[in-house]
Symmetry: C2
Subunit: 144 residues, 2 copies
DNA sequence: TTCACATGTAATCATTCTGGCTACATGTCT
DNA sequence: AGACATGTAGCCAGAATGATTACATGTGAA
């Protein structure tokens, strides 16, 4: 199993919108860089818009960032594109046998442990911004 | 998306084997507590065995722990049951457009960021042992 | 107003993964 | 030999993903 690439595509979109300040970042343009279908991009754009990360308007070509890139963390994108529900990164088997000491307690014991792990992951994502991503890409470009 | 419940079931199995030291932990017995099919349990037992966490033998009923519970971390179980491949918790879209500065670099830029997040999660799992789980379950039992 | 074009969104489709289940080969002990 | 347990392979229904098509809605210029 893997976390949906919507997350990676979301990062790609935001980064490209920033680096394409002078041009128009339409869903078709973005789709060309990501190499997928414009409808897929529009769906993700809708999620980013709903979370207040970008501004898009029906009928008007192009998306713009709604915040400075230094204020957008990977965690913001991660939550925006809805790849993982709150406290549900790990799934726990339901219907354990209530007649067994382990069966009737395992759920409550495991849940906080899983939550802690998920929080650790999210904290890591929260420490990186789109600005970091943009900077890294520009550095990689220099060396080519 | 969620991480397969094989992970949670693996923890359940190890915990129950420990608390059932006096009895025989056959796949059918374990399945009864988890509330699933014995074949599912046997499949997971095979993974735990392959990783050196338990001892099972064909034809001989019952599984035993291969290590003290204080030496088995949730990370060991997580890796044993193969829910997530190395560096592949997050999926990244392939085939980005090489003619675009973002398209040709995004993969290399994102990968280490995702790896760091995955490592943070694994570190968290590595700090908890089955002993901790057993202790917590016994405490919860006391209060009933 | 009409037309070209962009976003918003629903529906369909093939693919993949999960968990439950059956069936049976293999191995062990009485 | 027979009872029973593990080790596997195979099948199934259900869920999620990403690609694609289609179309309603909205905007601005001719």
């Amino acid at each position: 199993m893997t976390i949906s690439s919507r997350f990676a595509v979301g990062i790609h979109i935001l980064t490209l919108i920033d680096l394409n300040k002078d041009g128009i970042s339409s869903s078709e343009y973005l789709a060309g860089s990501v190499n997928t279908n414009p409808a897929v991009i529009r769906k993700i754009m809708g999620m980013l818009k709903k979370s207040g990360l970008i501004e898009v308007h029906p009928g008007i070509a192009g998306a713009k960032l709604a915040k400075p890139i230094s204020d957008i963390t990977l965690l913001d994108v991660y939550k925006a594109v809805n790849v993982v529900q709150e406290k549900e990164l790990f799934s726990v088997h339901e219907n354990s046998n209530p007649d067994c000491p382990v069966g009737r307690n395992i759920h409550d014991t495991i849940l906080p442990l899983f939550s802690a792990a998920q929080l650790a992951l999210e904290k890591s994502l929260g420490s990186v911004t789109i600005e970091d991503v943009v900077r890294d890409i520009m550095e990689k470009e220099k060396c080519k």
